[in-house]
Chain length 219, copies 2
Amino acid sequence: MPADSAPRRHTRDGVALAALAILDEWGLADLTMRRLATSLDVQPSALYWHFPNKQSLLADLADLIVARVRPVAVTDAAWPEPVRAEAAALRDALLAYRDGAELVASTLALGLGGEASVTRLADAIAGGGFDAATSRRAAVALLHFVLGQVGYEQQRLQFDSLGVVPAGSALDDTPPHEAFAFGVDLFVTGLGAPHLGTHNARPAPTGRGTDAAGRRPRA
Amino acid sequence: MPADSAPRRHTRDGVALAALAILDEWGLADLTMRRLATSLDVQPSALYWHFPNKQSLLADLADLIVARVRPVAVTDAAWPEPVRAEAAALRDALLAYRDGAELVASTLALGLGGEASVTRLADAIAGGGFDAATSRRAAVALLHFVLGQVGYEQQRLQFDSLGVVPAGSALDDTPPHEAFAFGVDLFVTGLGAPHLGTHNARPAPTGRGTDAAGRRPRA
DNA sequence: ACCTGAACACCGTTCAAGT
DNA sequence: ACCTGAACACCGTTCAAGT
């Protein structure tokens, strides 16, 4: 190995990894450019050579977190099992980093990162025979629930560890993992029901490629 | 009227209202204690006589916003119509103030404000014949979706108005109001379906007060 | 009861300049 | 290519002191 390699100090990826470490140890509120600079033994201004601003750094972190979603085994398990599995895998990935849900939610809204999460959910949903548009719409709705639930969960975790949660202040005493499964179930059950997308049950239109739920006939 | 009333300068409520005005005009990120102080012609430190910290001020704002949820007319409309109506009323109340959803979501997690929103949803759901625990669990799940969807919607609104939304960066091109209705439908349809709360459809247990969905028999 | 003045310990970002 | 040094325009919060 070359003992006198180039005096290259930091890379964009290295900075992102250091940021991820701070996120996990201190949380999003304490992930500051100045603290990150200190952890890299560098002046704050140095970071702006690697990233144009803090927001784009956070977008990279969101992508990293979502990219780590565990691959869901392709089994022959009947729909909607794969949807539940994808949702659970996404939850786990968000829980793997402190404030993961809040971070992903904020960058998703800016259209900067975390996009992969929707795609995965949509693909799993499409396995139920829904058309692309319906699958995506449902995936976005499910994603909002997932981010909301896990974000709430993570906020509570942090205040718990600070010992400052007012007693009885929880929205519900159902254990987080069960509350999550319950919500996902509501979604997939709703998707599976016949008269979706209409406010009143109506017979599905005939002679078209999809019924009122955007469901394609099984091949 | 007494011309020489006491030299009382500001009240807690007055400060909260001024904060609400700043929230609406500038958004949550620009609602700073210093800016609020300036708008009241007061030093920043003066605010700390009315509120122990910024967080408790924000909690008051969340309560104000949620308290303004339009009363949903008690009609004889069949369930789940009242649930849809409550969800829509909550969305409107959140949309009435810039960043309303984000504000309510953050204070809800701390157990500091916005609690009324869950109760209203739970009551509407209970109208479908579910027991209190099930109704609340479902309300919390629905609330997470509502806050997520509206929060996303409001973030997009702001970046739109700044003209800085990357083209094609939307999660979905469904109009917000329709995406919202779609998500709520998924929920209430799921709730209405028979085999809720179990991962596999099973015959409802017999001889008990509720079925597997926590549903009580109609009186 | 309500506020001022001054301070403390922070932020994100820019930009000329160095190596 | 990568970073320093210095500055700009901010934050939330505390606390003694004023009226």
